[in-house]
Amino acid sequence: MIDQRNFTYMFYGFAAAWVIVTIYVGFLALREGRLRDELERVRRMVEDSGKKN
């Protein structure tokens, strides 16, 4: 049976590792969304200024 001493702290340690990875993945996802929006916007901007000329 698993040792009960310090079990909660072991759990915190594992959780910390996974929380950090999750935060990073969330951060990547946010940036992905922001970049896609921006790319779309800038593409439209280039098309517009191309038309004007």
């Binding site: 040792d3 310090n6 702290y9 340690g13 590792a17 800038v42």
Partner: protein, 227 residues
């Protein structure tokens, strides 16, 4: 093709991690002094390996960029550094939690801890520098130089504190000193390392794609202004 690779690597990482989590929690014997907390080592050590390998790969990629001036290498270096920094953060966090129980303190100015912290600070600076430069070619050039300076520094720190006070457990793996952990207790470290490398590869691929996208945004913006 690339998506398929990401998917496979994800699956592989998840599979190994679940299997090893089960293994670590339920199959491994208890350690006589430390209690359950020693199991943190199965994340701590693989994260160290992954992080440090990443920083050295970033050094290589930065050198390759300066040699070839191909922005592909710059995107790679940036992605690897950022992902490695995430793993360095994991190392520090898990290490501090372990230290709180075993040493009774969150932090100590020990050789290995200090190296990791210096490493963290240097590469955080690297990422901040990247954000402060708009022009992609200039950014690539300058951050490659910073990466080379930073990696050199870590090697100097590492060498210089080998003679310094050390409180950190000596490396426990058998490859280093032919002893330490029992063979059955050691293998999860390697398995988890493999899993974390797969995870890191996935993150690097995604991050690199973003780097390329932001470069494209930059060039489109310049194009819009030039008309």
């Amino acid at each position: 093709m690339r998506n398929k690779l990401v998917f496979v690597l994800c699956l592989l990482a998840a599979g190994i991690l679940c299997w090893q989590l089960y293994n670590v929690l339920l199959n491994l014997p208890n350690e006589k002094d430390q209690g359950a907390i020693y199991r943190i080592v199965y994340f701590h050590v693989p994260a160290i390996f992954t992080g440090f390998i990443g920083f050295f790969i970033a050094l290589g990629a930065s050198g390759m960029y300066l040699g070839t001036r191909n922005l592909k290498y710059d995107a790679f270096a940036a992605a690897v550094t950022e992902v490695s920094l995430t793993f360095a953060t994991i190392v520090l966090a898990t290490g501090m939690i372990w230290g709180r129980i075993i040493w009774g303190i969150w932090w100590t100015w020990d050789a290995r801890l200090t190296t990791m912290l210096v490493c963290w600070l240097i590469y955080a600076g690297y990422l901040m520098l990247r954000r402060a430069i708009d022009e992609p070619t200039q950014r690539a050039r300058l951050s490659a130089v910073v990466s080379i300076f930073g990696c050199t520094d870590i090697m100097i720190v590492w060498k210089s504190i080998e003679w310094w006070r050390t409180q950190h457990p000596a490396p426990v793996l058998s490859v280093r000193d032919g002893g330490g952990m029992a063979p059955g207790m050691e293998s999860p470290i390697y398995w988890n390392w493999l899993a974390l490398m797969c995870l890191a590869a996935v993150l690097v691929i995604i991050r690199m794609r973003q780097e390329n996208m932001s470069r494209e945004i930059d060039s489109l913006r310049r194009m819009a202004h030039s008309y």
